[in-house]
Each structure stands twice: as structure tokens, then as C-alpha cells.
């Protein structure tokens, strides 16, 4: 009786192992297949990863984070004297500009009243800070500490004081994920301020520039032109600052974004009025 029993156990465990392998492989291929669609399971995994896995990975990588911020502070401390000198010069220059700006602002208000114009077309949903970022390898993503409980929805725009940062692509109750402008998988419809040339921009592989993927009627903007969101795709609000044209080739042009993507601490989630 005993040998028979042993054989049965061996066969069962082998069957379990083979079954596990086949189910793991099948599951993975199903996940790959369904990841391109809005499948419930895939979205559940995405939500789980941003609400559970990210805090754990942040906790584990905390020593490296501390080391990195220590080096950063040391570098800042070293350049403090030089920075102080520059800032003093800048204060003097800005004071002159401030007087001029106050005068212009008053004049602007009066003119707007005369024209019966509204101030801007944006509604602020939430100002939020960064939890962490995944923008070194492959995609350019940042994670924010506000989610759908703060009324953040997919496809809302993320901006900061310099201009357009990106677009919300995932939200959980307390977290949301933003794809940056520099990601090659994000396209934005823009227009140049001077000529009103419409085009589509996508992130370039280097992570610094945006490159045109489509230019309406093949009209190229001029070097130094400022590009803003056109609002034609109805994803981004109209007239958000994007960047400056830095290189024009025969069939495409390059734009340097205004936003410094290395120094994003806070972003505002906005939507059109």
C-alpha cells in the first residue's frame, strides 16, 4: 500500500506544479492582451500598485532618498554664496519690473472691463504635491497624493507656475498618476502664438524636447515661437503655455518645454470652465 500512496502524492504535486505554470503563463498573456482595453481586472491591479506598492517601495528606498537629498542639500549649501549675490541683483531688477507690472495690471483690468472679457478659462480642481516619480526608465510618470476623492478625474490637465506639466491617466481614492509631456506616448494639440499654426506634439526619446508628429498644412513655425495648447482635442484647456520652438527641420520642429521637469514639487489639476 505504501509505495502506491507515494506515487499518488508525487503525481499530484507534479500535476499541481504543471497546472500552476500553465495558469501563470495563461494569466500573464491574458493580462497583456487585456491591458490595452479598459478591463476591470487590469485597472484593479493598477490601482493596487499605486495605493499599496508605491508606499512600500518608497519605505524600502527611503535610505537612498535620504542620501540623495543630503547630497542635494550639500550642493545647494556650496553654491549659497554665489546664489545670494545673483538674487540680490535680481531683487533690484524685479523691483523696477514690479512698479511697471502694477501699472500694467491696473490698465489691463480697466481694458478687460471695457471689453467685457472673462479673466481665464480654467477651473482649479486641486493643488497637490508629488509622492514619487517613475521617469528615469521607459515612461515619464509622476504620482500625486490626491485622487478621485478630491474630484480628480482621468484626462484632467496638470499644470504648474511655468505651464503645462501633463495629463492625469489613472486615479485611485487618494492617488493619481500623471503622464508628463515628455513621454513619447502622449500627444498634445498646440498652436504657435505668432502665426496660429496648428500641430501635434509628442515627447522625444531624450526626455527633454517635444517633437511635432503632425503639422497642419505643413506650415512650419518660426524659431523662437511660443506654443500653447490649442484646445482642439478638447482634452487640454486652451492657451496653456507649452514651450518654445528651438529647432525647425524640413518636416518637423522641436519644442523645449517651459516646465522644468526635474524640479516639480507641486502641481495644480485644472479643467476647462
Amino acid at each position: 500500500m505504501a509505495p502506491k500512496f507515494q506515487i499518488k502524492v508525487f503525481q499530484l504535486s507534479r500535476f499541481v506544479k504543471n497546472f500552476t505554470i500553465i495558469s501563470v503563463v495563461t494569466l500573464s498573456f491574458l493580462l497583456v492582451f487585456f491591458s490595452k482595453t479598459d478591463y476591470y481586472l487590469v485597472n484593479g491591479i493598477k490601482n493596487l500598485s499605486s495605493s499599496v506598492v508605491i508606499p512600500i517601495t518608497r519605505f524600502i528606498s527611503a535610505p537612498v532618498n535620504v542620501f540623495s537629498s543630503f547630497i542635494n542639500e550639500y550642493n545647494q549649501f556650496r553654491s549659497l554664496k554665489f546664489e545670494n549675490k545673483i538674487l540680490q541683483e535680481e531683487i533690484i531688477r524685479l523691483k523696477k519690473w514690479q512698479t511697471l507690472a502694477i501699472q500694467n495690471s491696473r490698465e489691463n483690468k480697466v481694458l478687460k472691463k471695457l471689453l467685457n472679457a472673462t479673466d481665464n478659462n480654467l477651473t482649479l480642481v486641486k493643488t497637490t504635491s508629488l509622492i514619487n516619480r517613475n521617469d528615469t526608465i521607459y515612461s515619464k510618470l509622476i504620482n500625486l497624493n490626491a485622487g478621485y476623492e478630491d474630484n480628480i478625474k482621468i484626462n484632467m490637465s496638470a499644470i504648474n507656475e511655468r505651464g503645462l506639466v501633463g495629463k492625469v491617466i489613472d486615479t485611485t481614492s487618494n492617488n493619481s498618476r500623471v503622464i508628463l509631456l515628455t513621454d513619447p506616448n502622449l500627444s498634445i494639440s498646440v498652436k504657435s502664438i505668432s502665426d496660429g499654426i496648428f500641430s501635434l506634439l509628442t515627447g522625444h526619446g531624450d526626455g527633454k524636447y517635444l517633437v511635432s508628429s503632425f503639422v497642419k498644412e505643413n506650415k512650419m513655425p518660426r524659431l523662437g515661437d511660443i506654443v500653447v495648447t490649442s484646445g482642439t482635442a478638447q482634452i487640454f484647456p486652451v492657451d496653456l503655455l507649452v514651450g518654445k520652438v528651438t529647432k525647425v527641420e524640413k518636416n518637423r520642429f522641436f519644442v523645449l518645454p517651459f516646465v522644468d521637469f526635474k524640479n516639480i514639487d507641486y502641481v495644480q489639476i485644472v479643467t476647462s470652465k
Binding site: 537612498v64 510618470l141 531624450d206
Partner: protein
């Protein structure tokens, strides 16, 4: 004594896997090479686990890390899951040939596997998700692999002893 028994080399390697994964998915803007180095270290550890500590649980490990890498780095599933599972299945198929090799040949195969794995991920990310096949990042990965390969293998063999 009991505590050291509990921490056998497989568990230590799995801890290295968790740490390297955590650091590689959190970008450090001032030191992007830290992310890249730990990303390469993760792959080195995973290949080492397959080569020297093969077990069926590694399919589950490959699935979990594959999904997490894909979601956190690509926001789409595909490149990492396929690569990790393909490596495991390829290893099962070629195991009988790998056993015959001497240590130098295995080290060479180990390094080549690492490079192919990193290239294959880039290729799949390009093919499935349209990410640019970035030559500079590939060179960066190869350079980091060259630098950390020998110390890592040395460390792993020490752990195994």
C-alpha cells in the same frame, strides 16, 4: 542560530530582489544612474535565482514583478512579464545543456543573458507600447552591467557559500 538558518541564500536573494525593485521604480532626479544600476541588479539577481535556485515559485515571482515593473515603469502590461516568463521557459528547455558547461562558460552565458534580457525589454516596449528604442540608455545599461557584474557575482557566490 535558528535565525541564520531561516535566512538561507534564496531568502537573501529574494530580499535583494525586493530592495533593487523598490529603488529602481523610485526615480532620483540627481542620480538617475542609481535607478539604472538597481534595475540591472534586479535582472542580475533574477537570472542568478533562475540559474542556481530554480524552483516553481519563480513563475509567480516573475508574474508579480513583471506586472509591477510594467505598470510602474510603462503604465502598460507586456514587456517585462513576457521577458521574465520567456527566460524561465527558455531555461527549462536549455537546462540539460547548461549543466554541461564549466564555470567560465556559465558566467559568460549569465552576462549574455543579462544583456539580451535588457535589450529584449526595450525591443518589446518599442513594439507593444511604442517607446523609443533609446540607444544611449542601452549603452548606459551595458556599461552599468560591465561595472557591476563581477562584484555582484562575487557577492552572490559568497551568499551561497
Amino acid at each position: 542560530m535558528e535565525f541564520s538558518k531561516f535566512f538561507n541564500s534564496t531568502i537573501k536573494l529574494n530580499i535583494i530582489l525586493i530592495i533593487s525593485f523598490s529603488i529602481s521604480v523610485n526615480s532620483f532626479i540627481l542620480f538617475p544612474n542609481i535607478n539604472n544600476s538597481f534595475y540591472v541588479l534586479f535582472h542580475l539577481t533574477f537570472i542568478y535565482l533562475i540559474f542556481y535556485h530554480y524552483h516553481y515559485y519563480l513563475y509567480l515571482v516573475a508574474l508579480v514583478y513583471g506586472i509591477l515593473f510594467d505598470i510602474l515603469l510603462l503604465n502598460n502590461m507586456g514587456a517585462h512579464i513576457i521577458t521574465f516568463l520567456s527566460l524561465l521557459m527558455l531555461f527549462v528547455l536549455l537546462r540539460k545543456y547548461l549543466i554541461r558547461l564549466n564555470s567560465f562558460q556559465i558566467i559568460f552565458i549569465y552576462f549574455i543573458t543579462l544583456i539580451i534580457l535588457l535589450l529584449f525589454e526595450q525591443f518589446l516596449a518599442n513594439l507593444i507600447h511604442n517607446y523609443t528604442f533609446n540607444i544611449s540608455s542601452i549603452f548606459n545599461f551595458i556599461l552599468i552591467s560591465l561595472i557591476i557584474f563581477i562584484p555582484t557575482v562575487f557577492l552572490f557566490t559568497k551568499l551561497d557559500k
